[in-house]
Amino acid sequence: MKKILYILIVIVAFNWGCNDDDFLDREPTNILLDEQVWNDEALILSVVSDLYFRIPEYQSVNGWWNYADFDEAFGSNFGDYWRHKNNDWAYGKWSLWNYDYIREINLFIQKAQSDLTKDLAPEVKARFIAEGRFLRANAYFELVKRMGGVPLVLEPLEYDFSGDATFLQYPRAKESEVYDFILSELDAVIGDLPNDVNIKSRATKGLILAMKARVAIYAASIAKYGANTPEVSLSGGEVGISASLAESYYSKALTATEELISSETYSLYNKKEDLSENFASLFIDKGNNPEVIFVRDYVQSERFDGRSNTWTLVNQPWSGAEDLEGGRTNPSLNLVQSFEMLDNSFATFETNTTEGDYIYFDNPIDMFAGRDARLAGTVILPGSKFKGKDLDIWAGYLLADGSIITGDEFGQRKVLPGTETAVQVVGFDGPIDGREYSAQTGFYVRKFMDTATGSGQRGLKSDRWWVRYRLSEVYLVAAEAAFELGNADKAAGYMNMVRRRAGFTTDLTATDVTFDRIVHERKVELAFEGHQLWDLKRWRLAHIVWNGEKVDLTDKPWKADEVSTRVFGLWPYKYYEPGSPNDGKWIFRQVLPAQVTGADRFRLGNYYSFINDEIRNNNPQIVKNPNQ
């Protein structure tokens, strides 16, 4: 009987207790609702920050290994030697199909435009919408660079669970349509964005103009130089742009650059007297930097989740490393020899006299004297300093009989012939063939390297930014567009702006400006800024420069279409011959690092990346890219 009573009490308690609906209706504590987010400027900013954060990158400061894919650098890391042993790139390389990201941007734009944001100030609301549309345009730019024309999805798509998803299948747009879409979006949003040189990691008027210039010059050169590779096109226009459109794209590029340049919002970075130092600090100076337009910013952090910049940690010279790693990106001799002499002439590095004897230098840095100031700003050369410490890059002793004494450990000591005590026979930075973190080409990278103490520690890393757009590139786009439109005089003027900052005192004249010159100037000014692949693709030079043949290092570094399939190095040695006037002097030898066994081959099917079978199964309207 008592049992039944208890049961009854429990039943009654439950029934009454649940009578109150509000009791169950709780505000979630772990997520924010649309109404909460879209009323608050700070919260919307964190939504848009996430979208900025997810901009796809290929080569960047947190992806050093991608620089070792081509001929710019050697990857001095055990797990990356394969990059120099392979021949082909898979057709799927550089493939991107991030419609999840685009959907989120579309949702962002939809919500920012909706009534949810009616309480925001109109200019704040307009700025957020403009940023969303910029991000979407940028996402499509990343796609069109890699894949050619892609489906233009401008609304967040919803499936209606009807069992038939064909209404969600969009065909690929023409390549030119995607470029036109990007350009028109940029035109549409420019008025709603601030014009402020100190805003670096959000969209500004300056960024929109710089991006317009880059987008238009890509489209223009695909239209013009695509004529050289008629095989790289699809009959539906998904790949390939008609040559007749080249001129209008070039003039769009020129107009955008001139608008940005004449606005004088930005100016070239010129804060330091030493031009190489100046060039290097352009990339790491975060205080009132007048040149940088758009960046991906970082903070110092002990985590490895992408919020801090690992470039300095993974690339610091071994001799002065603040942690147990470094030295990974080794700029190639191919790149280093491309830097001109200061009298506007080109010269390869002569290691031997015409009689075959070595050329002796008092200091290793003398080998690189009289060159473009950007060289020492981009590359850490033997005989120079980093973070105030002398570099120790030398491969060993060369004896009078031509034999070499060297070691296979950093700074190893051995006894030289005729002496009794062991001395150091190889530098603490290498080069040691096959020893990771040593300068296996004889060089370390300088660009983007943070000079702050602690930036090379795993527990801190660097808070310097990754520069995506800067004024110098805008000048070079202006020069290229002006040149292609037949105005070589103007082109020379823009190129000289960039070149004077690099220490050139003799200006280029209109007759000096050629296509080769423009290609070359971008190569040296923008090295390690992630332009190389896209540039060679749009000029349709990639299959010529990386043709898979094992050729020697070119002696014509000024030529745009010179084959360069393998990375070479230049190693300094100390000369040992007691009693000789040359004893203790430096000689150089050109080397091919032993890990470089393959030769890069860019096939025609690499121009536009493979759209995988799964995507094409899901949407049969997607056509395949050519030559795959």
Partner: protein, 228 residues
């Protein structure tokens, strides 16, 4: 307790040994082999470059099986029995396909099948010989496609290598002649001197390659062993 343990072990062991029968799928057992030929003559290409696709219709999602053609124009694929559609992707190989671009292949046991295609050029009467360290080649470039699709020669090469893989990627010596420099396509001469090899060997492999304008893949003569 001990008995129980033994029984447990026995059960596990028998399960492991018998269950293998169930989760093993049948493996593909039928070979499809053959050559890419023109009038019965194999077409030599560079390795890993020319491929065709086999599609098996009837599945919900379709993924092609890529079959790569070897240097000497031969191919082989180990497949399940079934009917396949054989397709050359566009712009593959130094040839064009004949008639329809899709070939139906029904496989029931091993099958040998030559695929007829029409190359832009054939290399005929390739004679490669050594004179000291000098390798000379004489051959005729036979223009096969002469209709609207006809293409000019971009360049011809004589490649020499230490191993049997001889093409533009793997060679130790290479002589090149641009298409415009050819005086008489019925008798083309190329010569190249063989550099010092280490370790030394007294023979090399050589073949002639021909590239037409606007096609990525080259056509070659058969690889020949040349004694020095």
């Amino acid at each position: 307790m001990k008995k129980f343990k033994t029984i447990l072990v026995l059960i596990v062991v028998t399960t492991v040994f018998t269950s293998c029968e169930w989760d093993n799928y049948e493996k593909p057992e039928s070979f499809l082999k053959g050559n890419i030929v023109y009038n019965g003559e194999p077409i030599n290409v560079s390795y890993n470059d020319v491929k065709f696709e086999l599609w098996e219709p009837g599945w919900q999602l379709s993924y092609p099986i890529d079959v790569v053609i070897d240097q000497d124009g031969s191919y082989s694929a180990l497949l399940f029995n079934g009917s396949y559609k054989l397709v050359f992707p566009e712009a593959q190989g130094p040839f064009r396909t004949l008639g329809s671009d899709t070939l139906d292949v029904t496989l029931n046991g091993n099958k040998s099948m030559d695929i007829e295609v029409e190359p832009y050029y054939m290399i005929r009467n390739a004679q490669i010989s050594a004179n000291g360290n000098n390798i000379t080649a004489n051959f005729k470039a036979d223009k096969i496609i002469t209709d609207a699709d006809a293409r000019d020669i971009e360049r011809i090469n004589l490649y020499v290598n230490k191993s049997q893989f001889v093409d533009f990627r793997t060679n130790i010596a290479n002589a090149e002649m641009g298409g415009g420099d050819i005086a008489d396509i019925n008798s083309i001469n190329l010569s190249v001197s063989v550099p010092d090899m280490s370790p030394g060997q007294n023979y090399v492999y050589a073949r002639i390659g021909l590239k037409v304008v606007g096609r990525e893949d080259m056509i070659f003569s058969a690889v020949q062993r040349i004694d020095l």
